[in-house]
Amino acid sequence: MNKTITYSVLATILVLLLVNFFHHEKPLNLSQYELKQKFASKHSSSVDHSQFKILQSDFKTPQDVTEACLGCHNQRHEEIIHSSHWNWDRVAYVEGKGITKLGKKNVLNNFCIGASTNEQSCAKCHIGFGMSHSSFSFENARNVDCMVCHDRSEEYIKGAALSGYPDRNVNLNKVAQHVGRPNKINCGACHFYSGGGNNVKHGDLEEALLSCDRNTDVHMASNGINMDCVDCHSANKHQIKGKLYSVSSTNVNRLRCEECHTAKPHMDEVLNRHFSKVSCQTCHIPTYAKENATKMAWKWSEAGKMDENGEQYHTEDSLGNHTYLSMKGEFKWGKNVEPEYRWFNGNAQHYALGDTVSTEPVQVNKLLGSADDIHSKIYPVKIHRGDQIYDPNTKMLIQPKLYSAEKGDSAYWMDFDWNLSAEAGMKGVGLPYSGEYKFIETEMYWPVNHMVSPKEKALSCNECHVRDNGRLSALNDFYLPGRDKNDWIDLFGNILLWGSLAGVFIHALARLINSIRKKELESK
């Protein structure tokens, strides 16, 4: 009787254990539900700007519109003229340089290299009117372009090579009466098309996000929560949250996933523990450039070739992306690209105009961090590789003058003479040029933050925790379970294991032979 009770108790415990072991109901992630609820209600404007008398006037110049805006929003220009979107630089403490100003004004990239001396064209993406190389007042509030960010009529467009002025066909009256909270295309007009075309630079920011499904981006999907850029990149007092490390250098004002999703977003303790060393993006953005290709390599050294008639020419790959342009050189594109991974602590260094080149390839921006730095996490990065013009005597990268409206102005895109272009460009930024140029390999690091996949498509454990060819195989400065081992311990272990097996086997064999002999003796 006692036995029966004991066994049935034991059996019950066993069954309960097994059920617990094999059955896992997905628990509800309530914080996720709250977020979905929060962003499900969309922003609606509390005023109709078209009813304001001041906006019904006939605007002759875009500056007139700005003046009308400031008529009511009479302190907003102060916020703008202290922003990096306006100044194209920001004050930062940089190791080795001290307190310095860094931004588009003085850092280089390895796409179209740099804006200096090319402002007439590059200022298409400046939030002002009339920025040119020689003359622009960063104090003049009349030149602030409110419309480029706040137009909701989809009418406003900046003109090509007009120093930031709008296209001449834009109906300023219509735009002025339809202003409001920025939506995707306001930001995307510059941030999607930077580098001369859709998705050229970022890889994770492109026009597909205007209308995509959840597989491309869970946050911005039109069949999902359909968030706008400014839902995350909030802009209280025009100080926009978040930053990009192609032009930023310090670990401040960053926009982090955990601000909404908390530092313990998973229902699984082991996954949550990854948070201290692995960024959310690492697992949740398995690939970028999901819809349209992004530029992965750009070789300026190949630029300047002409066809048999002496004319410029181009070649395309199967997706219709330029693989060669006489003006720009040779390109490589990638679609659905697996990021590379780097330790990153939120601080970056940049090659700024006038710096001396110390490494090859030159890292025009460099993400700082390492495994033993407690502030570093692993981030997915797009690394854009290429080469660009440099002066072997001064050991400086050269700011070339690329753009001009007409020939004979030393611009490379008109005259195809690197020497003239280098001379004019370096003169324009007040730096020496020895008269000799070469091409040097460059790398640029773009942390990947957008195009978050649905959770089912996040990386699985064994894409990193695997002996060979895992996603993190290039990061070797830490112990990764499943990938790393101590060869000596494993050698010792194998010798011990196989040695024991062999010893046992030999002993058993000896016993067997012995007993057979004994039986033979007995039978005799």
Binding site: R273, C461, G493, L497, G499, S500, H507
Partner: protein, 219 residues
């Protein structure tokens, strides 16, 4: 020779559940180590962690049992017949020599066993259990909270844990094989399953060792 009730109920439960856990932990553990792929890394980790908690609980119970029953004294090593025992396994048993020690309920382990099992309990198990606990709780708290074991590199913990696992594997192989060296090939395994073993008579006043099977059943 007579049947003696040598392994008590808890002892048998402890032995076999520990054996099962060790096999399961080895299987999942070496998958986590990257030696092979079977369940997939995620499941291997999850199951390894669950099984390790079960083992910890079992160990807690067994320590309690060893001390409350006095069974821990079985593991006090003796040097006196150690040499004879080694000689028996290497030479004696091939010459049909008798076991140099007599097994009984209050002396279940021969000197070599006592020595090896003590090593198991004082070296192998602590190495693997302590490093396992460090591994379990490594960086449980993030940078803003108290960090329990982040000062010890994961590398060291993992190496020591792997080292312990290799030792344990070798122990298991030899241990399983040695069970075949009883009076018959399966005598020892049967004893650990049923509790009863056919043992040689022992000159002793101890009551439990004299109990016959019949006496037990009449109780």
């Amino acid at each position: 020779m007579k049947q003696v009730y040598i392994y008590k109920k808890f002892e048998r439960f402890w032995h076999w559940s520990q054996a099962a856990l060790i096999f399961f932990l080895a299987l999942t553990g070496f998958e986590v180590h990257g030696s092979f792929e079977l369940l997939g890394f995620e499941k291997a980790v999850a199951f390894h962690r669950i099984a390790s908690y079960l083992l910890l609980a079992l160990i807690a119970f067994s320590i309690f049992w060893h001390f409350t029953t006095g069974e821990w004294k079985q593991y006090i090593p003796t040097i006196s017949k150690l040499k004879d025992q080694i000689q028996y396994y290497t030479v004696g048993m091939f010459k049909n020599a008798p076991h140099p020690t007599i097994k009984s309920a209050h002396k279940k382990l021969n000197p070599l066993q006592a020595m090896v099992y003590l090593g198991f309990k004082l070296v192998m198990a602590p190495v693997i259990v302590l490093t396992g606990i460090l591994y379990l709780y490594f960086k449980t708290f993030d940078a803003n909270d108290v960090i329990v074991v982040s000062d010890i590199p994961l590398e060291w913990i993992a190496w020591a844990h792997t080292f312990g696992a290799w030792l344990l594997m070798a122990f298991v192989i030899v241990h399983v094989y040695m069970t075949t060296t009883g009076h018959s090939i399966t005598a020892n395994i049967k004893a650990m399953l049923t509790g009863w073993e056919l043992l040689e008579d022992e000159e002793s006043n101890d009551d439990t060792s004299r109990e016959t099977k019949e006496e037990q059943e009449t109780k």
